[in-house]
């Protein structure tokens, strides 16, 4: 007999689906429209750090981590996150206690208007989780899906490299 799916089937009732998803470490039960994208559902639930940019998978401002991997939340249905773990920028740090990556972005002066930064920070986190000591080329490659219209990317690349050093306990290159 075929193994039954761990995530089962979700059927809409009165035009809504009930999905169970862990957001920033907290189990949540969300009611979403079947055709609703993860981006829209997260923003409606108050996670405004997930930015709506192109809404077409081109700009990367809507990046969130799904089971630790960076994804474009505008390109997947909210229901596809059922049974999975989502991390938004709100799950990384607080204004009083920023995550070392956020601190690095501030120290490197990598933030201008700030709209792309949540996506940049999360893409950086995914990179550093996989490769704690990346070179500049690896950083540029990992961030090539996150567009910034204010800067020339130089500061953000420096910020990611600084974050890597911070997370390794201040090791100098």
């Amino acid at each position: 007999m075929a193994k039954k799916s761990g995530r089962g089937t979700l059927t809409a009732e009165k035009g809504e689906l009930e999905i169970r998803v862990e957001i920033n470490g907290r189990p949540r039960c969300l009611r979403v429209a079947p055709g609703e994208y993860l981006l829209d559902a997260l923003r409606r639930e108050g996670y405004k750090g997930v930015k709506k940019g192109c809404d077409n998978g081109d700009c990367g401002t809507c990046t969130v981590l799904l089971d630790g991997k960076p994804v474009l939340s505008c390109m997947m249905f909210a229901a596809q996150a059922h049974g999975r773990k989502v991390t938004t920028i709100e799950g990384l740090g607080t204004p009083s206690q920023p995550h070392p990556i956020q601190q690095a972005f501030v120290e490197a002066g990598a933030v201008q208007c700030g709209f792309c930064i949540p996506g940049m920070v999360l893409a950086t986190k995914a990179l550093l989780d996989e490769n704690p000591d990346p070179d500049e080329a690896a950083v540029r490659r990992a961030l090539d899906g996150n567009l910034c219209r204010c800067t020339g990317y130089v500061k953000q690349v420096e910020a990611a490299l600084l974050a890597a050093r911070k997370l390794q306990g201040g090791k100098q290159p």
């Binding site: 075929a2 994208y37 899906g145």
Partner: protein, 284 residues
């Protein structure tokens, strides 16, 4: 929110379970793996999304018959695979690395990339050049067809809701081949290329024993270039033979594009790319 009529999401855990759902729901179901572009183009008749991301089709391994790549491997998995880096001069990993941007590479699957068979998709020409086979599951049985069949118009539509692509197999003989890939686009991360070429060569003692050349983006679907391959086969590796093959390729591509004036530039670009890939495959 894009308007659609979705009412249900199913998350099958096995290929038979996914096939049962697809057979039962037919045109009312759509299969989604990585998502990317697919989630933005759901047909109005679709009521159920079959999310196959839990299926055990995420593997890259080699056995006596050759290389086996699970359909749910992301483009990023291919790019980072040490096994693929050492296969046919790393041409599969290299091609995966050319694809779009890091976020799209991390979401999009190789199965989706080849099944959608969009002219701009990056993976079809490399599997075509390496004589890969597409393995799919239908009616509880595993079937295999040459990769070129998968790209034929209507092939996937004909199989429709009866089958699921499970893996791509690349012959063991291609492991020692040399390979290179090149594409030309407005920016490196732009999905739409003007032209994309792949060269896979079996070299022996400075001579091309077998050549496999493929082009994409400027044609409705990726295609092999047999005349250009003939211009290389049995010839010594040199600038001259690479030139001769690229000239043959341009002529062949002009024929394939119906000598359309709008494609003339793309054909010339493809010729240049092909010469570069041949020389890169020969000399590293």
């Amino acid at each position: 929110m894009v308007k659609n009529n979705i009412q249900q999401f199913c998350f099958p855990a096995s290929v038979p379970e996914a096939l049962r759902l697809m057979a039962k729901l037919k045109a009312k179901a759509v299969v989604v793996a990585g998502g990317t572009r697919h989630t933005r183009s759901i047909a109005p008749q679709v009521e159920t999304v079959v999310d196959i991301s839990d299926l055990p089709l995420k593997f890259i391994k080699a056995d006596r018959s050759g290389l086996r790549i699970g359909a749910l491997c992301t483009i990023s998995d291919l790019e980072k695979s040490p096994l693929l880096a050492g296969w046919a001069g790393g041409v599969i990993a290299q091609t995966a690395g050319l694809s779009s941007n890091a976020l799209a590479r991390g979401m999009g699957t190789v199965g989706g990339n080849v099944c959608r068979a969009h002219p701009y998709n990056h993976m079809p020409p490399v599997f075509l050049a390496l004589d890969a086979a597409a393995v799919y599951s239908e009616g509880g049985r595993e079937k295999s067809v040459p990769f070129a069949r998968l790209l034929e118009p209507g092939f996937m539509r004909e199989l429709g809701h009866r089958c699921l692509l499970t893996e791509l197999r690349v012959p063991a003989a291609t492991k020692s081949w040399s390979g290179a890939t090149a594409r030309f686009a407005l920016t490196p991360s732009q999905w739409e290329s003007t032209a994309h070429c792949v060269a896979a060569l079996d070299l022996q003692g400075g001579t091309v024993r077998r050549a496999a050349l493929a082009a994409a983006a400027l044609l409705p679907r990726a295609a092999r270039l047999p005349k250009a391959e003939a211009a290389l086969t049995g010839k010594p590796v040199s600038e001259e033979t690479a030139w001769a093959a690229s000239k043959a390729a341009v002529f062949e591509l002009e024929e394939l594009t119906g000598r359309a004036a709008a494609k003339a530039y793309a054909c010339e670009v493809a010729g240049v790319l092909l010469r570069r890939t041949i020389l890169e495959a020969c000399h590293g």
